[in-house]
């Protein structure tokens, strides 16, 4: 188990290294970021200063090594750099130091804030939204799928399938608007929900406050598509499993139907569903721009798109790296899940 996770993590680091290369050459490899920082109006002296500050006067390969040094958790810095960049972490050595730190993602061109701060601020919103959307989609989706499979060829089956086809075909920006308008505006008096709102509200007197009710509508909107897909996958996997010999064995033991379905059939049907769930989850962790935009939810997606619009490359690069790390982690998680669910898939 441990060696399996270690190996997977090693692969994960390789993947991330590839992403770093790609990201660097896409956003820093060409063009002159200094111009982006200062805009159209800067005089040449300012530009030169910025170039120096961002090490843009160095050759490209050196820029890349510096960037790698910045994002790597283990890196080397001179004492001055540590001061200048505000790097924290375990420092070893006196003048030129070996530093073990949280990856330094540099600073935004526009706001000059540290990218990690910007991302960390949005992360709780994205995490809670993705988690709750997937929780909603998984619980309802699996239940609907099981129901549809067990009651195959009845009205329950066909309506579940119909609803899921509807869910798959409805784009989130459309569903988002419909749901926000319907439940956050028309029926607001009954639901007590608002069209927009983030995870935290900032009150002049009491400071930051958790606003969990704001989560409901965006989570549902975001969960509809994965829900539809999970329903369909669960249904087809369950139908396959219900025809297996061991289901007959379970019935022959004298088990109740519910025990057969949930204890014997469902667990065997879960593997394709887990693939879908983890895939979607990782994707939602990259942020969901439309939903965040419509509901005014503060999350990674909106920050990334905004940064792209302003050509604020460090933020974009940071969020790409963050998303890639999520993908690697979630995939590792999925592999572990496969093994837990199905002992035959245990490769560790």
């Amino acid at each position: 188990m441990l060696s399996f996770i270690t190996r997977k993590l090693l692969y994960g680091f390789l993947v991330l290294f590839g992403v770093v290369i790609l990201v660097f050459f896409l956003f820093q490899g060409f063009g002159d970021p200094a111009r982006l920082v200062i805009g159209q109006t800067g005089d040449s002296a300012t530009i030169q200063n910025i170039r120096k500050e961002l090490a843009l006067d160095q050759p490209k390969w050196k820029q890349f090594v510096l960037y790698l040094n910045d994002v790597s958790p283990i890196s080397f810095y001179s004492a001055d750099d540590i001061q200048a960049l505000g790097i924290e972490g375990l420092q070893i050595g006196s003048d030129s130091k070996l530093v073990i730190k949280f990856p330094y993602l540099r600073r935004s061109y526009q706001s000059r804030r540290a990218v990690s701060d910007i991302l960390l601020e949005a992360l709780p919103g994205t995490l809670t939204l993705a988690l709750s959307a997937m929780l909603f989609a998984t619980v309802i989706g699996v239940l609907l799928g099981v129901l549809a499979a067990v009651k195959q060829n009845t009205w329950m089956d066909s309506s579940a399938v119909f609803a899921s086809v509807l869910g798959i075909s409805a784009p989130s920006f459309f569903m988002g608007i419909v749901i926000a308008y319907l439940f956050g505006f028309v029926l607001s008096a009954y639901t007590g929900l608002h069209m927009t709102g983030s995870l935290f509200a900032y009150d002049a007197f009491e400071g930051r406050q958790l606003q969990l009710q704001n989560l409901i509508l965006p989570a549902i909107t975001l969960g509809i598509r994965p829900l539809a897909i999970i329903t369909q996958l669960t249904r087809s996997a369950m139908l396959d499993v219900l025809g297996q010999d061991y289901i007959r064995t379970a019935y022959a033991k004298g088990l109740r139907k519910s025990a057969v379905i949930f204890k014997h059939a469902l667990r065997n049907a879960l593997n394709p569903v887990v693939t879908a769930i983890t895939g979607w989850f990782a994707e939602l962790l990259a942020g969901a721009f439309f939903v965040e935009y419509i509901f005014g939810w503060k999350g990674i997606g909106k920050i990334t798109v905004d940064a792209l619009e302003r050509l604020d490359f460090p933020v974009v690069m940071g969020s790409v790296l963050l998303t890639a790390s999520f993908f690697v982690l979630v995939n590792l998680l999925a592999d572990v899940f496969y093994g837990i669910i199905d002992p035959r898939a245990r490769i560790f």
Partner: protein, 533 residues
């Protein structure tokens, strides 16, 4: 209960516990009376709850496929304990303890460890023992065994039969034992019911039915077993008894096949030298192989032109891997294979394609070795097309029809799909496909193992006829020594990746040298009654 597949014996057994999915199944008429501790009840009319009470408790069942009948995601012990917990108010610990005692009763090795093992970690025979332990867990009054040993090796089959018999006597329970093999049933049953096309055609005590079978179907079942016949004799088939009653049985049995000349076979078609095929079984952190599963371990032998070489051994002994390696489907780890004197490993691409044309395989499972989306005619025509033998579509069609007729099918079958055929017919289609290229070497990998005894006789006859016709050399792989003895000139016995014995088939069969071969021969069911017939 004896009958061929599709005769309705499994359906009858499943109906007892109402395990047939309904719909589509309908119980049109009749009743199933079960005497539950002296209290008779009709199983077709009892309520759902009562039925659940009976299932696994008063009536238990062991199924045919041990590989698929256990849930792969739960440990063996849990699955057995579940049955106990369902029907008693025992505590979990007590149920676990009882499971381990049951595992001891069914002679599973290391019951404590076996409890935590998952089905994929144990052998087929062990799985069937777990199934029997599960069935026995609530001391049932009736045990239904639906072909419990069909998927198992003969040696394992013998042990399982013994186990069922012992349990039956110890617990004084009734057993319904279903099989397509009358000989097998004769070893275990007191009373025999013969089913044919959904009806009971004969029933009586085992000795009475075996000694004087009345129905032609029963007679055919008894006569068509290859164990009773000399090599080269045409096996009697079902139609000899059922349609063609005018032909007396004796002439059919003694009709000797000509053209099997055993003399001076010296030309080697295949020569195998110190061949090993290993699969990595354990790898370290960096993917370096630490340990190997030695499927084929250092074997050397020759196959002479025109002969049929039988390869026998239990499942997992490496015989299938060996067959596939000969065809170049599995790369050898060590050693070399020479086909007509040419080393296969060093052959050029062009030469390899030419060799492939000369070598064909007939697989075990006729159900999965035909593409369900392809018309059988096209499936047979495909190799002709791939190797560019007949480029004209019309001529190819004629050739396919000719092949179909050779395997006793008709031109009408050309445009049909595999699911429209029975198992025996499919196997004949697979044979036609293999023979389309007129190969000089054919590997028959358990080609008749999935078939009923009666259908098996037809296919064996066909293979004998075709061999005479097409003059090919064959490697016949099977776990059934009686089939191997019937069809082969020479026999090789394989055990744990190595060849333990080889020789002329009659010599090996009648005077086995190694203990393993003796064990295999002793395990052939129905030897006792076969010799008296």
């Amino acid at each position: 209960m004896v009958g061929e597949s599709g005769s309705g014996k499994s359906v009858t057994a499943l109906a007892v516990l109402q395990l047939l999915p309904s719909p589509p199944a309908q119980y049109a008429s009749g009743e199933i009376i079960f005497s539950n501790k002296g209290k008779p009840c009709d199983l077709l009319t009892v309520s759902k709850d009562e039925l659940q009470q009976l299932r696994g408790n008063a009536i238990a069942m062991v199924f045919q496929e041990p590989m698929t009948s256990l849930n792969p995601v739960h440990s063996c012990g849990k699955q057995v304990a579940e049955a106990i917990l369902t029907h008693s108010d025992m505590s979990k610990e007590a149920a676990f303890k009882k499971t381990i005692t049951l595992f001891e009763d069914v002679k599973l090795p290391n019951p404590q460890k076996m409890f935590h093992k998952h089905p994929h970690e144990i052998s087929g025979g062990q799985k069937q023992r777990v199934m029997i332990a599960m069935a026995m867990s609530c001391n049932p009054q009736l045990l239904i065994c639906d072909e419990p040993t069909t998927a198992l090796d003969v040696t394992v089959q013998k042990n399982i039969l013994g186990l069922i018999r012992n349990l039956q006597q110890a617990h004084e329970m009734g057993v319904i034992f279903i099989s397509h093999d009358l000989a097998l049933v004769s070893e275990i049953a007191d009373k025999v019911v013969v089913m044919y096309k959904g009806q009971i055609v004969e029933q009586g005590t085992t000795t009475a039915v075996l000694a004087s079978p009345q129905h032609p179907y029963t007679k055919a079942l008894l006569a068509c077993r290859p164990a009773l016949h000399q090599k080269g004799q045409r096996l009697p088939v079902l139609s000899d008894f059922i349609n063609d009653t005018a032909r007396p049985m004796t002439t059919i049995v003694t009709e000797k096949q000509t053209g099997t000349d055993d003399n001076n076979r010296t030309e080697k078609i295949i020569s195998v030298n110190e061949l090993s095929v290993w699969y990595p079984s354990k790898k370290n952190l960096f993917g370096k192989t630490l340990d190997y599963q030695k499927a084929v371990n250092n074997v050397s032998f020759d196959i002479y032109k025109g002969e049929t070489l039988g390869l026998v051994g239990e499942s997992g002994c490496g015989k299938t891997t060996l067959g596939r390696t000969l065809l170049g489907l599995v790369p050898p780890t060590k050693g070399d294979i020479r086909f007509n004197g040419k080393n296969m490993a060093t052959a050029t691409r062009h030469e390899t394609i030419a060799m492939r044309r000369q070598m064909q395989i007939i697989f075990q499972d006729p159900y999965s070795s035909l593409n369900p989306n392809k018309k059988i005619g096209d499936a047979i025509a495909e190799p002709l097309k791939v190797h560019g033998i007949i480029s004209n579509a019309a001529q190819r069609r004629d050739k396919v029809v000719e092949l179909l007729e050779k395997v006793k099918l008709t031109a009408d079958h050309y445009h049909r799909y595999p699911h429209e055929f029975s198992g025996g017919q499919r196997q004949r289609i697979v044979i036609a496909r293999a023979l389309a290229l007129q190969p000089s070497f054919v590997v028959c990998d358990e080609s008749v193992s999935a078939l009923d005894v009666s259908v098996q006789a037809q296919v064996l006859n066909l293979l004998n006829d075709l061999k005479k016709d097409f003059q090919f050399t064959a490697l016949f792989i099977s776990h059934d020594l009686s089939v191997i003895r019937y069809i082969s000139d020479r026999i090789m016995v394989m055990h744990k990746g190595m060849i333990v014995e080889a020789g002329n088939s009659e010599d090996v069969y009648t005077h086995p040298k190694t203990a393993y071969t003796k064990e295999l021969i002793a395990a052939i069911p129905g030897k006792a009654f076969g010799s008296t017939l």
